[in-house]
């Protein structure tokens, strides 16, 4: 499962993924992060639609049975959507971390793709997993 690194997404070294869609960027955590966490029991997204978020800043926490991890924004911008469903169904992240387990949507003034240029592509992220995780 941890080698599930879809092409077309961008990644951070902290195991968030980001997907550009026009002026918006959808954010979640990677299959590798999910596998490391195990069964996710609690997601606290500490931002609301309308909040501005700086790149690299924490936007919430995710907890599994054993551990708590911080969530960091891969890009800065204005939060336009928060996945409220995760509040009652944190298991969506275990089931579908690149789909129904999305966390926030951030609006980026200059468009999604340029803002994500600095992040890792799927090949670089897969390489990062190989060199750092084992």
């Amino acid at each position: 499962m941890s080698d599930n690194v879809p092409a077309g997404l961008k990644y951070t070294k902290d195991h968030e993924w980001a997907k550009a869609e026009g002026k918006e960027v959808i954010v979640g955590i990677t299959a590798f992060a999910v596998e490391q966490l195990g069964d996710i029991t609690l997601v606290n997204l500490e931002v609301r639609a309308g909040d501005s978020l700086e790149s690299g800043k924490g936007f919430g926490t995710i907890e599994s049975v054993k551990t708590l991890s911080d969530l960091f924004a891969p890009v800065g911008g204005k939060v336009v959507k928060v996945n409220q469903e995760l509040e009652t169904k944190p298991e969506l992240i275990n089931e579908d971390c690149y789909g129904k387990g999305w966390m926030v949507v951030i609006q980026v003034p200059d468009g999604g793709s340029p803002a994500l240029a600095a992040l890792l592509d799927d090949k670089a992220y897969a390489e990062h997993l190989k060199t750092s995780a084992h």
Partner: protein
């Protein structure tokens, strides 16, 4: 700069890796923290059976005419009441009455006692027992030669029944009793003890025989739903059963009385290390108590999180906390002022700056159906 000693591996290390375990450092050992996942492993133990490698724990043996007296002087419970083949849970305290370790003491005979101590305390407890044994009885730290496998869960004895005629008779073993038995062609000592809140056994065998035993129990237990269990689920299982974890709930800053372990302190057995200090503790109202609680707000209490009164003042500390997979709630243990230790008392857990509602509840959180 400090140099960490290299991590050690139990004889079952290769079995764990083959079973897909995630390995983590624990008390100087490379141990499996999980295989399939904490929640499915937890459920396997509650509904079928789980196999645990606890070979990292320490085994200390005292032999000789005075072995019983030496042991009984070092522990708070009364080993003088044990018969051959019987074991007990106890604390060992220092003169200040705080807990050096929690142990199981096995009386093999009137002149031979086995002590099982926590992996993190082997060096400390070996020194304590060796020093006390000096000039009185023989001391042998058997930890490096002794493997320990726990088989726990409602199907544990059904699985043993498949492991040969000697093992099949183990169902007759009473709780906290033990005897020698051949299990799957391996000569073992089997005790009806555990750390999960389920029925089951803990099996001692020679270090190098453990892989054969582990492999045999795994394949015999397959049709009955046996699963290998890592340290992660071991922790959630013991927490639901409110079994203390040394280093979390009890340590050298806590005494057995406030930790809810007064039942293993026997003042009527004669002198023992820590007796005077514990008598003084018992003579006064307790300042604080270890309580079980449920987090009713959105949060998970973790070891070290402050506990707050309803005015937001820090009044205690969480010592263990996690979701309880069987009880279906976020649960924890922590020290609170005695005035707040009553079941039903509301307080808050400081979850990284956020006050999350919690309530003191009766423990154990989980009790198996008889």
């Amino acid at each position: 700069m400090t140099t960490e000693p290299p991590l050690r591996r139990t004889s079952l290390y290769d079995c764990h890796v083959r079973a897909g375990a995630r390995i983590v450092p624990f008390a100087g050992w490379e141990m499996p923290v999980q295989y399939e996942g904490i929640v499915p492993e937890h459920r396997a133990v509650r509904t079928a059976a789980g196999l645990f490698d606890v070979s990292h724990m320490g085994e200390l043996e005292l032999r000789g005419q005075y072995a019983g007296q030496v042991v009984n002087y070092l522990i708070t419970n009364d080993a003088g009441k044990l018969s051959d083949g019987q074991a007990l849970y106890t604390c060992a305290c220092n003169e200040a009455g705080v807990i050096l370790d929690d142990l199981i003491v096995y009386r093999c005979s009137s002149e031979r006692y086995l002590i099982v101590c926590n992996a993190s305390n082997v060096t400390k407890m070996a020194a304590v027992f060796e020093k006390a044994a000096e000039h009185h009885c023989d001391f042998d730290n058997r930890s490096d030669r002794t493997a320990l496998i726990a088989l726990q869960g409602p199907k544990a004895f059904d699985i043993l029944a498949l492991a040969g005629s000697g093992a099949a008779n183990l169902r007759a073993l009473k709780s906290f009793h033990f005897r020698d038995a051949v299990v799957a062609n391996v000569a073992c000592t089997v005790a009806r003890t555990g750390y999960t809140g389920e029925d089951g056994v803990e099996i001692f065998c020679p270090w190098d025989d453990a892989p054969a035993l582990w492999t045999a129990l795994t394949s015999l237990g397959q049709p009955l739903g046996i699963a290998p269990i890592g340290l992660g689920a071991r922790d959630t299982l013991r927490l639901e059963a409110r079994l203390s974890l040394y280093g979390n709930d009890i340590d050298e800053t806590t005494n057995p009385i406030e930790a809810g372990l007064g039942w293993v302190v026997k003042m009527d057995k004669g002198d023992f290390v820590g007796r005077a200090a514990l008598e003084a503790v018992k003579g006064k109202p307790l300042p604080r108590k270890l309580v079980g609680f449920e987090v009713t707000g959105r949060g998970i209490a973790r070891h070290g999180y402050p506990l707050l009164d309803l005015a937001g003042k820090p009044v205690g500390v969480c010592t263990s906390g996690s979701p309880g997979p069987t009880v279906g709630k976020n649960i924890g243990l922590g020290y609170l002022p005695a005035s707040m230790a009553e079941v039903g008392t509301r307080f808050q857990v400081d979850c990284r700056g956020k006050g999350i509602d919690a309530i003191v509840v009766k423990t154990p959180f989980y009790r198996r159906q008889a």
